[in-house]
């Protein structure tokens, strides 16, 4: 993994911790499925 990628992972983790704090009591939603066809910008 490149240094750039490592840096962005750390950033995301900190943000996740902040948002996770509110929902920790209930549950973490760790995965989410979308359709490969569900993004606008493809014909």
């Amino acid at each position: 993994m490149s240094p750039v990628a490592v840096a962005t992972v750390e950033t995301a983790s900190q943000e996740d911790l902040e948002t996770a704090a509110e929902v920790l009591v209930l549950e973490e939603l760790l995965v989410e499925e979308i359709s490969i066809d569900g993004m606008c910008g493809v014909y």
Binding site: T8, V9, L30, E32, E33, I36
Partner: protein, 88 residues
Amino acid sequence: MTLTLSSACALHPQVALRPEPFGALAYHYGNRRLVFLKHPDVVRVVRELGDHPSVGHTLRACGIATERDASFLQALNQLTKSEILRVC
């Protein structure tokens, strides 16, 4: 079938994982399902599932706190339903 801490499972051979800032994308080439793994911890767990005898062993080996077990079981069950994981 529902996964428990004593179940054994592994990444489906037709699934690829791609690292992303928020965690990873998982794509199943067979059924074309795309799943966002939204935390680096769940990515580590998914990668290592096949190396340990059970889900519980994997969670402990990855240093996941036991109070998060329910969340991880729910996530792994959803991944099994999408065939991202397969039960061994």
